[in-house]
Amino acid sequence: ARAPTLPGPAAALLQALGLRDAPGGAPTPRPVPPIMWRLFRRQDPQETRAGPRRTSPGTTPRPCHVEELGVAGNIVRHVRDRGAPARPPELTSAAGSCPEWTVVFDLSAVEPDEHPSRARLELRFAEAVAGAAGPVGGWELSVALAAGPGSMAGREAPLRLAVPSLRAPVRAELLGAAWARNASAPCTLRLALALRPRSPATCARLAEAALLLVTVDPRLCHPLVRQRR
């Protein structure tokens, strides 16, 4: 739902903020992920001035750079998984192997001019049986582009990652792996996930999936434009 075109000063302010339109209705209340608060407090000069010193004395944050993540960027998005409601609740497949999941991220708000510099998949798993010991040797996570409308599936090899424990969130960098480094953001990103125990054990359950996407919009990054000139 998009709001009708705003009149006068509000439209000018929206344009200055580089936004096409203001969200129509009130957003669904949900907690702001701690990493987004952390990045905001570290990035915002007013917060940095008001709060405890977070940068070394005499240093100023580099423009168009996300210090905490160590990459170029002036837009950070925490994108929710849209595939969760459609996922079946079963824990094991009929063949006895662990299930695969498809996670879906709506990236339609990413402008064509934006260049991705980090696309970090963040997953939380839960043991199928509470308190159960994990498999000896841990797990192997596989991430691949899933088939779907406009999908780039099959162009990149699946990303495989050793996961020793499921207690901490599992993070996987997609750029340069499941997502080509020079490719622009797709409208929708669909990923096929599989978590296989390295020794016989019960399967795990995917509790939560999110994508932390950092992009550089050169239009908001005046120092870059000046350098190019």
């Binding site: 969200p23 702001v32 990035q43 950070v76 925490h78 908001l220 005046h222």
Partner: protein
């Protein structure tokens, strides 16, 4: 929200607070609630145009002010009072898809004004 200008005075930064609540965006902008954007106001006549008030100035602006003092109206008027140094802000908000977005904007807050 603009603070009333007491007594005018030469070209310098004045307080201007942009409140996201006033625009009705407080339900989707998470932080900040607003920011001190500020603005520049004040005549650039001598001696302000010479940088005597502490504001940075261009040589060209000083020349224009001198010419204006010699022959008002004959040389295109006084220089303009404009931002000379700006600083960035960050905004945290929900987008149309309820994702949380952090955007960093350069040149959003007027720190210093000068005659140009």
């Amino acid at each position: 929200e603009v603070a009333p200008v007491a007594g005018g005075g030469p070209c310098r930064a004045r307080r201007l607070y942009v409140s996201f609540r006033e625009v009705g965006w407080h339900h989707w902008i998470i932080a900040p609630r607003g920011f001190m954007a500020n603005y520049c106001q004040g005549p650039c006549a001598l001696p302000a145009a010479l940088g005597a008030s502490g504001s940075p100035t261009f040589n060209h602006a000083a020349l224009r002010a001198l010419m204006y003092s010699a022959a008002p109206g004959a040389h295109g008027g006084l220089p303009c009072c404009v931002p000379a140094r700006l600083s960035p802000i960050s905004v945290l908000f929900f987008d149309n898809s309820d994702n949380v977005v952090l955007r960093h904007y350069e040149d959003m807050v007027v720190d210093e004004c000068g005659c140009r």
